[in-house]
Symmetry: C2
Subunit: 156 residues, 2 copies
Amino acid sequence: MPESTEAKKVYRRLQEEDFKLTRQRRIIVGTLLRCRDTHPSAEELHQLVREELPEVGLATVYRTLDLLERLDVIRGVNFGDGRTRYELTSELHQHHHVVCGRCGRIEEVDEDLLGDVEDRIAERTGFTILDHDLKLYGICLDCRQTIEDDDAGSEL
Amino acid sequence: MPESTEAKKVYRRLQEEDFKLTRQRRIIVGTLLRCRDTHPSAEELHQLVREELPEVGLATVYRTLDLLERLDVIRGVNFGDGRTRYELTSELHQHHHVVCGRCGRIEEVDEDLLGDVEDRIAERTGFTILDHDLKLYGICLDCRQTIEDDDAGSEL
DNA sequence: ATTACTGCAAAACTTTTGCAGCGGT
DNA sequence: ACCGCTGCAAAAGTTTTGCAGTAAT
């Protein structure tokens, strides 16, 4: 697996800030880039990383996630399932999350429609708004289909 | 402390659903109503409840929170500080949270401006949207004042 | 060579669970 | 009197930390 330009950008970022570029960090960054659409938790990421380098410890994954978060490469998001999940900040030009309450699938919606909402709230509260986080909860198309099929079955 | 009509409404709710109205549950409900604007965590709530009835166990608090959440009396919210905080659902006609990243203060904004955003996202993703959660992160007025004062001091 | 980084194990912290006894109904 | 609820303590799950050894610069 050749290393992407994106990975190299992160490596450079680490070195600029005088952090060492270890094998573990390279693999963790690579894995995060490869999982860009799955929002992995620390534990899930750890499993994937171990496929490539089995002796990596979970603590290293946590420490690296912490580091990458401080470098603003990734960002922790909480979907209320008891663990922090991570996404690349480069993805978030500005997007929202749509979570299916049945199967847990998370989709992203690239669109920022919240500019004027922010302005209005800033005015009303006196806060300086720096960021926002919008999650929408519902049922995805597949699950709705399944539910409807089940209903049809039980109605006979 | 006389029991509010609101508390009584919750008690009735519990009994309708065949749950027993224990002293612990009454006190927990009362405390939640009294803390409506603080978004307490289970542990914080437990401390407050113990002021009134010291032998209440933390597990009971968790179990009661769980029950009240299932009865849709309260709702867990995650502000990313590692513990679940709770708010009354009666408060959420539809509101958003504004969190100060410096002092942690949470303010609520009562206004729902997201109807058409929801519609657009439903159309685009195929999801049936049932609910949403908008958090805004920034710096509150007091903290900005403090920061500016500090800056002024260090500039001399 | 230096010293940041790692793996492991232990600790810390939030939340859940098992069980014997208590208390609403 | 029944059986749901409670307190306690133990367990479970996620994240953090201490430390001795390893590896990047």
